[in-house]
Amino acid sequence: MSVQQHTATTGNGHGHAHDGHGHHELPFWRKYIFSADHKVIGIQYGVTALVFLFFGFTLMMLMRWQLAYPGQPLPVFGKLLGETAMPGGVMAPEFYNQLGAMHGTIMVFLGVVPLAVGGFGNFVVPLQIGAPDMAFPRLNMASYWVFLPGCVLMVASFFLEGGAAQSGWTSYPPLSDIAPPGQTAWLFAMVLIITSSLLGSINFIVTIVQLRAKGLSFWRLPFFVHAQLVTAFLLLLAFPPLEAASVLQIMDRLAHTSFFLPSGLVVSGEPLKIAGGGNPLLWQHLFWFLAHPEVYVLILPAMGIVAEVIANNTRKPLWGYRLLVYSVVFLGFMSFIVWAHHMFMTGMGTTMSTFFQITTMIISIPSVIILTCFIMSLYGGNIRFTTPMLFATAFLPMFAIGGLTGLPLGLTASDIYLHDTFYVIGHFHYVVAPGTIFGLFAGVYYWYPKATGRKLNETLGKLHFWVSFVAINFIFMPMFFQGMAGLSRRLYDPTIYAHGRGVQALNVVISWGAWTLALAQIPFIINFFMSLKRGARVAENPWNATTLEWAAPSPPGHGNFLTEPVVYREPYEYSVPGQPNDYSPQFRAEA
């Protein structure tokens, strides 16, 4: 029953135009490459992001060898990476630093956000609000094609002299100011990626505000759309300061200014020939002004996906929908005034550190409310443990662990001890990896049928889920213990310290967990490609869901909907007493 919209008329340049039907057929490169269709762009972002997620993960797997077996040559791959990076197959410390900085940068900026916002946001939001496309389709296309060169530049930096950026994903000066050329590439790549993101966020906000279908008031929007709207505001207002900071760092590196370089700096015994008078903390403020809201950019779309999948697979409305919306808006607002909790150890006075501690404690409240609403949504539900539901359910305890372990970091007293240790790494990975990425996997399994017209295989999906779920906990849980033992992050060889040697056994566990997690992705990759040709075909609404995207064909054609959609009710009318079906879609007049 998948109906394609294109009417094959006389080809380019002839035929009628401009009313969404009866237009001429576009050539291949305009239909699939330089396309202004949000669905194509969403898939472009999604596929690009998945490739970079796997690439960034590979960088980490290399690091895990060095951490588990410090100073040992890496079998097979060690020789392939060249004598500079892996002399004699043993990882060089500079290469370890490059892997670390690039793993973080790539996972966050080239992987998770492009998938969550560029991929899912672009594909699903116009469909969920009943729009024919985004408000500015060509701007949308421009966003992707500014993003991709940024990605290429970022990865190409590995081949520059001195290698890729190696001053952490946080790029703190003065170190980043004097680092090899790869850092300059990082900065320019970030400028491109940030610009792409800004254009995209404008598109999302205008689309959601202006292009909702008839009957779709704000309080009838799926939670996924609310989450994407808040996310778009975070991106719009928080990214520019990092773009400014990147320009300042580029100036420091190329024009020898001293925005971030204090006077009297000595490098390798030689005083730096610069004017001085700058402040390294300026970078930290500008960076974290973005990077804190950025972590909410990482989690909010995933929360949105989890909400959709839970409502659909419990066959009951989301518990506390309005509370969820107020919480996510409040969360977005608060996220702008907590950033210096990443800077508690920079010597700030007690007044300001108290301020940031208080706002940080307050911001945990909406997160807890959101999690509680999701958990309450399960209670009394008629639960279907489909693969998306497995990922969405697992998200809940994983995000809980991630969130709770953030509390001792937000409290200044305990942060003194835990800052820059593996505890921090465990904390944020719990939120992003078994948190967000599981949410994103739930989204892939849930919306793949809409995008392709076929379902992913359930058996492979369940295998993917269970092995990933077990492995991922073996990776990140031990990190809390390493951190509490005092093990620093970004350390090339933990065994140089006695306290490092004390928890070195855990490094072996973690590394094998990571390599197992990699293997667990194989069923997913096979499933993803295999199901394109061999998956069970589906109609418009294989999950018996209620939101608007399930009114469109699978996959939707150009213009998305066969008839103009109208919304008749709230987004999660499942198991309404007295109705014949256990779901009443938003788009169907009769319940």
């Binding site: 402040n279 903390l281 300026l282 702008f336 010597g347 700030m348 006075g349 007690t350 007044t351």
Partner: protein, 105 residues
Amino acid sequence: MAETTEHEDVSKHMGKYYVVFVALLCLTAVTVGVSYLHLKRPLAITVALIIASVKAGLVAAVFMHLISERKVIYAVLILTALFFIVLLALPNLTTFEHHSGMPGT
């Protein structure tokens, strides 16, 4: 201005634009003139910022039609103004409070 303003309405508003133009030039002269007074730093900054804000307000309200703009635009701008103030104030407040209470600081 609503998009359906007839062109007579626009021509009525032309006078306003010229008045603001002259005001902006005058205020520019004032701000340069005041700088020659070499006021004490805090006062000089305050006066300069006030004059600049008035000029900016005129440009925003009249040239950018903000005075008759819609709620949704106001909402976006108020939110932005709040975060702008945060961005201006907090890093500077944080940097210039030195007493961390830690030994040696």
